[in-house]
Amino acid sequence: MGAPTVSGDDTLRETMEEYGLTAAELGLAAESDDEAEAALLARFLFEPPKRQAIGGERNGLALDRVVKQLTALLRMLSGRQFTVAYSDPPSTDNLNIYLPKAVPAPEIYEQDLLLYRAMALVQVGFLRHGILQDRAVLAEIHRDWVLRSAFHLLAARYVLRAWAEEYPGLREDLRRVAVLDKAGAMRVNVTAVPRDGMPGAFVPLYESLVTCLNWKVPGAEGDPARRAIRVVDGLPILGAGAGGASAAPPARLTTLLLQEARTLREHFHRLRLGPPPLPWFVGIIRPEWILADLARDIAYEQEWKKGNKPLRQLLEAMARNPGGGAPPPVPEAPRVGLRARFLARISGPDTSKAPAYGALRDEHVEQARAAANRVEDDVLAAPPKPGADGAREYDEWDDAAGVYRFAAVKVVEIEGATGPLGGYERVVNANQRQIKEIRRRFEALRVEERWLHGQPDGSELDMNRAIAALTDIAAGHQPDERVYKRYVRQRQTVAILTLVDLSGSTQGHVIHLEQEAIVLFAEGLRTLGFPHAFYGFGNTHPQECQLQRIKGFEEAYGEAVHKRMGNLRPNGATRLGAYLRHAGWLLASRPQARRVLLVVSDGKPEDRGEYRGKQGIRDTAMAVAEVRRLGVHVHCISLDANEGADAYLGEIFGPGRFLKLDSVDALPTRLPEVFRGLVR
């Protein structure tokens, strides 16, 4: 073919000339790809998101108001799990979808919601059909804006058609989106371009998405854009039946789309046209986000923040110098104590090896428990005394050696991070309805009214029991004398301490939701009048664990507490055992008979040094056992969605004593519910 070949740089230059955009506006200011990516990445990772004025005259509907509903609907329609974050224009990194914080004014609820739905459908569609999975394709469209836009428009056509075919109700919606002015604002990357005078060659591409934009110049028959769309429309959409599985094999699908996009690109080049701009609602494809493995980088970044840097440097140094590398780090020699015998006494018989039927007797387990309780009396009678610096020293279980290490770790209580007052109020204001609901449910915990059956004494005869006793007497048996019933209204107080994971890994979404969760929970507890406390953990130093007091038992709600609750800050690692032991003592010194320790954590107990893997898990499990013996009920809500999480959570907290949330989004509603379930 005699078609001129064009390079990505040519089209880039043409794009800039065509729309009068600078390279920076195209997101490509830097000389090399590497630099550009680094800059983008840095901007994304380290710059706080720019805030738009929300709620004022200048915006329409804000995403926050509909995000729950929207995510729920899209999860139901697509069967995929993803989270929603902010970005304008909409986009995806193959894990999350990004939507604008708000749509332009004026707010018209129904229309704006329709628009959000359409924006999200495009992005979820990309996820669902694996459009952005092929790295070679992404690399090819990365710098070439003409190719990228053409590919994007064709892919958007495909996913919208797929939705419409599978869900008749959506077809109507998508047609209505087309008439919205807001939806059709045209952009190249993030920069708006005028939509008047749109070249006729582009028009069929928009017609295929939004039929009523106002430059309806009929493209000629045999027009390449029309032909491309026909080809795309001919691609089969699999899985459109019930079940809604994925479509055509993604690799083939993207290759076909790319082929068509390449043809269009040649065509536009011959006409000396730049990239077709994109209607706002179809968003933007950001190959750099995916190619740079943003998700991996964020994970890496968090690891790094957790303090693995020296270790990694060491490993890297060793890799560079494989022959005579640095010696491996020598673990600190444990200070071995006398409590080795402890293990056998508290863990009881090894139930894991018991045969499935019969042999395991509950009596054995009971005996072992009783033995453990006796040990507790002499060993754990008092909390450790605070040192001069206010820190308390706790023993730690050394799993490899099978002994406790005396005073191996210090826990010091510090005041939690503080900041502006607005954080707390914002959560309260945004969740009025939920708070009301939580309070309503908590109300039922406050006063318990019920009949206590089978009492030795009471206001009324318990007929069933009385008859049973009578018949026993008549039959010559020893009767059960507890034949009364009593109506009680009792106020059962429970002391509750919530321990929140503030380690480095909670950075971002998780901590945000933890904050929301504790605020909602606090609002419920306040009305209930149960004594309660919130503490946050995350240690920056292995031997000294700082426990941040967000709200102490004795502290009243006021500015200081609100400020702390609204400004959680992530930092450090998860030396969970130590924190549990300390929290256990805080609770054990409460006068209330019932005490609950709720742990919210997002991962395994892990700290620098030895405290990871088996060691971290075993020490934490021992800590849980110790705390339980203090008469404290320990329960965990884990945000660790990994497959293997059940195993270690079960080992630490025991079966049925933890709740694993698949999505952190559920935390604010589940935290109060778990508490309610525990004390009910």
Binding site: K68, Q69, L70, A72, L73, R75, M76, L77, S78, G79, Q81, R117, Y167, P168, G169, L170, R171, E172, D173, G241, A242, G243, G244, T351, A354, A356, Y357, G358, L360, D362, V365, R433, I467, A468, L470, T471, D472, A474, A475, H477, H635, P655, G656, R657, L659, L661, D662, S663, D665, A666, E673, V674, G677, L678, R680
Partner: protein, 256 residues
Amino acid sequence: MIYYRPHGNEVEVFRVAAARKLPILLKGPTGCGKTRFVRYMAEQLGRSLVTVACQEDLAAADLTGRFLLEGGQTVWRDGPLTRAVRAGAICYLDEVVEARADVMTVLHPLTDDRRVLPLDRTGEELVAPDDFLVVISYNPGYQSVSKELKESTRQRFVSLSFDYPTAGIEAEIVQAESGCGADVAQTLVKLGQGSRNLRAHGLGEGASTRLLVYAATLVVAGLPLKEAAEATLVGSLTDDVEMTKALRELVRSVLG
């Protein structure tokens, strides 16, 4: 003939376990056909079935039996479990975690190789005949965190995990149970499956097969599909306002 549509190897496993006198634990979400399955198996094996729905107040004596006064005489009355043992029936304890702890104690000697039921009150010790079988059910997704099956109980049972059937089979069931058309059944199943994508993400559980059968029944009785779906799938799954809106949108998206 009881209608049951198998969707895995549950029938074979049940048969083998029953032949070997091994007690059976059925795990699965609500309305996925557990009760129906047990009724079906009882019929297939030609054994009678005693069903006990467990709730908080159910105590051991409610299962084993108690003395009653009749005309000045004390008369022993067998409870359902004792009756099942004597008759060599299948005893099905539905939602067993709901019952009081002492119920489990009664079940333990019956569900290991001893297979006996001691009745302290009458001084008897019943030895279960070969045809006697304990089947319990349990919904692990159930809300209350304190209600978990004890390990020593769990390990006495052969467990069969149930889940909602695949789309094709479920549509078949909905059609057979309600007498609705294939289109209606398929549409309802699509809705049901959509709602199940939200399990643990806003909904405790998605729509059960039972709920889909209800919806189909309403349609057969003349209600428009949309209203039937609204009354069952939207109304019965959640009270949360946002979730309700999302479910309503799902119905609208599927039905058009």
